[in-house]
């Protein structure tokens, strides 16, 4: 644990006077600083905390609090977190902390566009999810509008934007979002003229592959990979500057699947939040529901029966297995091996049948709710799990032989998409991405939740940080999950599957953050409660948003083919990145 006194000492060393440094029960140690002191604070804390785990904003203006921006710093060595909070006036400038933690790159952009802040000192301060010109969505003064409202809204006649739009429509051209952006100018010029436009193309990546002085000097070109590309695993759009087959620089564009889950959560009751986060990471829904349920239980101080905790672990692990199968196979498919993809789908189907038997759904379970779970596990489902467990380990060996034992695959996976330990730390890597880069960290072991403290399992790490290491770590995770599922069946305690809760759950005022080890890394839920039956603000930490930044920095210098394999190995889920 990093003690309060040490933080105070660090801060006084940097001559920063904190507004407050308190131990708040649900959040842990909270440091509040003025926005002007933010950079100095981060400079002082950088060496003690390796990772910036989460960054979120909250609009507290109705409570006379301004816009509150929260940073969660983590020291892995000491296993302790520090929450740094700063308060800004609406529309004020937020200094970027990307100089200290690269993991702020995308979340900062999102926080600023969502709360109408100005971002200063950021290498690419564009909007991340929303179209330029839309009102900051998460402000309390911006209401949720129905589709009819939006369609009824028209631009006044003769508006220059309207004329431009008309012209573009007539010529069959997609209008630029931001006419000052060099990248979009390049795309436009490419559309308008038959010749490729002259001059450099620079997608805004903070890393760029230098030209090889010995190679031929060739014209670079712009390649739009996605959002409708067979290998982008969802709706990712990557704009890559290419030199022949090599990626020189690239920029990932997200937001195609943005549904405003965080805004919607503010008009849902606590037990309805599960349905929303299910649609975030739609492949690993149970883990997301678990995070929300744990957060609500922590705020409302609900005691969960033992059996419910065990069932939760069982479901989370089965869901993790199902999720890993839909990653292991397609990563093979990315290298061109079709068979393994279908073998893995076959196995995933077995687990989905179990999930369906227990929760009634194959995806979007809404099974784990505050207080416990919806229904008890049935004897039939236990029988089904036992049948699968008999063959599952052997089939994992088969999958290894079918894909990873092939020399061609090893050529494609080893040394590709290497994430160094420093990058992984600085970019907020969690879960298997961190473990494959040599960071020994697993929330299930280091901060056990539900019934994980009673489970016996190992955490495998690798040092090389490449695609091979990620595959290997995750394959082992699947074996460990099988172990945990077996333990759950053997040791399942008797009792209730849910606590008795009132129909409408009112949660006392407070704030908390609960992380769980989701299949793709640390999935966290940060809830502000104001004492009513609905959350005041819910923020969702998507692990693959951070993986996306890692992948973005990893791509330059790779062949296109390797880039695709590297992308696939991070296992993005765009429901979660865009929310």
């Amino acid at each position: 644990m990093i003690e309060r006194a040490r933080i105070a000492e660090l801060l006084s060393g940097a001559s920063v006077t904190p507004v407050s440094l308190e131990d708040e029960s649900c959040l842990g140690l909270v440091l509040r600083v003025a926005a002007d002191d933010l950079l100095a604070t981060f400079a002082a804390l950088r060496d003690s905390f390796e990772q910036l785990i989460d960054l979120l904003g909250a609009d507290l203006t109705p409570r006379n609090g301004g816009i509150e921006v929260t940073y969660r710093l983590r020291s892995l060595q000491e296993n302790s977190d520090l929450v740094v909070k700063t308060t800004l006036e609406p529309g004020a400038a937020l200094p970027s902390v990307t100089g200290f933690y690269l993991s702020a790159l995308l979340p900062e952009r999102e926080a600023c566009e969502m709360f109408g802040l100005k971002l200063t000192g950021h290498p690419n301060p564009k909007h991340l999810l929303l179209t330029e010109g839309l009102p900051p969505m998460l402000l309390k003064s911006v209401p949720l509008r129905s589709e009819e409202d939006i369609q009824a809204e028209t631009l006044p006649e003769g508006d220059p934007a309207l004329q431009l739009l008309q012209e573009f429509e007539e010529r069959g051209i997609i209008p630029p979002e931001d006419p000052d952006d060099p990248l979009e100018n390049y795309v436009m010029a490419e559309w308008l003229s038959p010749e490729p436009p002259p001059g450099p193309i620079v997608p805004r990546n903070i890393r760029r592959q230098d030209d090889d002085p010995q190679s031929l000097s060739t014209n670079h070109y712009l390649l739009q990979i996605g959002p409708a590309h067979p290998a982008t695993h969802g709706v990712l759009n990557i704009v890559a500057e290419m030199d022949g087959e090599k990626i020189v620089s690239s920029e990932a564009h997200v937001g195609n699947l943005h549904r405003g889950i965080e805004k919607l959560a503010e008009s849902r009751r606590y037990h309805q939040l599960g349905t929303l986060v299910d649609r975030g990471d739609y492949v690993g829904g149970c883990n997301n529901e678990l995070a929300v349920a744990l957060a609500v239980e922590q705020l409302a101080e609900i005691e969960v029966p033992d059996r419910a905790s065990w069932i939760r672990v069982l479901m989370a692990e089965i869901n993790r297995l199902a999720s890993h199968y839909i990653w292991f196979g397609p990563t093979g498919l990315d290298t061109g091996a079709m068979g393994i993809f279908l073998f893995c789908l076959y196995d995933r189907e077995l687990w989905l049948d179990v999930l369906e038997e227990i929760s009634g759904q194959r995806m979007m379970f809404n099974y784990i709710r505050p207080g416990g779970v919806v229904a008890d596990i049935t004897p039939k489902s236990v029988q089904m799990i036992e049948d699968i467990l008999k063959i599952a380990d052997g089939r994992l060996d088969e999958h290894y032989d079918a894909l990873m034992a092939s020399e061609i695959f090893q050529q494609r996976a080893c040394g590709v998409g290497v994430v160094s330990k420093e990058d992984a730390l600085s970019l907020g890597a969690t879960g298997f991405v961190a473990r494959a880069s040599g960071i020994d960290w697993d929330l299930r072991r280091d901060r056990p939740y539900a019934a994980y403290d009673k489970m016996d399992f190992d955490v495998l790490t690798a040092d090389s940080g490449d695609v091979w290491a990620r595959m290997f770590c995750r394959l082992d995770e699947m074996r460990q999950s099988l172990r945990i599922v077996r333990q759950c069946l053997d040791g399942m305690p008797e009792g209730d599957f849910s606590a008795k809760l009132p129909r409408v759950l009112r949660v006392p005022e407070g704030e908390c953050y609960v992380p769980v080890e989701a299949p793709r890394g640390e999935m966290g839920v940060h809830i502000y409660s104001d004492g009513t039956d609905k959350p005041y603000r819910m923020s969702y930490r998507p692990p693959t948003l951070y993986s996306l930044m890692i992948s973005d920095l990893t791509l330059p210098g790779h062949f296109l083919a390797d880039g695709i394999v590297s992308l696939g190995s991070f296992d993005f889920c765009f429901g979660e990145v865009d929310r």
Partner: protein, 331 residues
């Protein structure tokens, strides 16, 4: 009979055989990959999965034939035929039996290899004229691959020519029926020829020009309907031609060891076709099993492994043949 009429009839016959082979190959690729991959559709749709073939063909015939706005119109339209016609011509040199061969020039092996070298140009034309970046990358890869793999393939065909003393496929088959199948003395050449055939027919693990995970569909990204179908027909014809070439060079063509040509009679065709489809089955199993090479590894394998090895092997082989002949002459 009028020689023109005969030529026309022969051409028609080849076309029919080629189309039949195409539909059979579609069925076969569905079934083989379906079983290898646990795919349910191709093995369950209709009796024995046969409805999948009909669905495929009807779909290809009825889809809209469209082309991109800024494509190089004429090149785009004729490119599928640049791929299709040479495959069709190469087909005519296949000796199905001692009598059944559509064209039998003195140097039929060389003619066949020459025509088999043309389809990559059509692939390049298709990719280049589409004015799509993915298609262009695929087209570039096709040319790179052609330059790399034509040479080892040609070199792999030399040892049987040395043994038979002729570059006529029919003569090579007959020479094997009098001695042994050339797979035994020329095993390394056989393996090289198999690898090159896999590469030339754009099949995984060497499907560089298509590489659907990287290039969407490579050179054929912008093609639709029957133009797309023609490319595939040519690919399946290429499969069969390469299989027939390897069978004729190394596996005794339409003959069987120990059975004379007259005794085999009309079954010779069946023997030949069965051998070819066994090889195609092998190609498909490889295709269904492995990951794809990366493009630079792919070129490396060709230039740094196959080419030097083929050259060295030919020197060793020719020297060995010469020495054995001298020993025999001396004895």
């Amino acid at each position: 009979m009028n020689p023109w009429l005969v030529a026309l009839l022969r051409a028609l016959l080849i076309l029919v055989v080629m189309l039949l082979n195409g539909s059979l190959a579609i069925y076969m690729v569905r079934k083989v990959l379906g079983h290898a991959h646990l795919r349910l559709g191709p093995t369950e749709l209709g009796p024995a999965g046969i409805a999948q073939v009909i669905a495929d063909i009807v779909k290809l015939l009825t889809k809209e034939d469209r082309h991109p706005n800024r494509s190089d119109r004429w090149l785009y339209l004729i490119a599928p035929f640049i791929v299709f016609v040479p495959s069709f011509v190469a087909f005519s040199f296949i000796p199905f039996t001692d009598k059944l061969v559509a064209a039998n020039p003195e140097m039929s092996l060389l003619m066949m290899l020459a025509f088999l070298a043309v389809p990559p140009l059509g692939i390049f034309a298709a990719g280049w004229s589409s004015r799509s970046k993915f298609a262009t990358i695929g087209a570039m890869r096709a040319i790179g691959g052609m330059v790399t793999y034509e040479i080892p393939l040609l070199l792999a065909a030399i040892p049987p020519v040395i043994l038979a003393g002729s570059a006529n496929l029919q003569a090579i088959v007959l020479a094997q029926s009098h001695s042994i199948w050339y797979i035994l003395p020329c095993l390394p050449s056989f393996v090289i020829a198999l690898i090159c055939a896999q590469m030339e027919t754009n099949q995984a693990p060497f499907d560089m020009t298509e590489a659907d995970q990287e290039l969407v569909a490579g050179f054929s990204t912008e093609y639709s309907a029957m133009r797309f179908g023609f490319m595939y027909l040519a690919e399946f014809a290429g499969n069969f031609t390469f299989a027939a070439l390897i069978v004729s060079l190394f596996l005794g063509g339409w003959t069987l060891p120990g059975i004379s040509a007259t005794a085999l009679g009309p079954f010779a065709v069946l023997v030949f076709v069965a051998k070819c489809y066994l090889l195609i089955f092998l190609f498909m199993m490889v295709r269904g099993t492995y990951s794809r090479y990366r493009v630079d590894h792919y070129l490396e394998v060709g230039w740094k492994r196959l080419l030097p090895f083929s050259l060295a092997w030919i020197v060793v082989f020719a020297a060995a043949v010469r020495i054995i002949a001298m020993l025999k002459g001396g004895a």
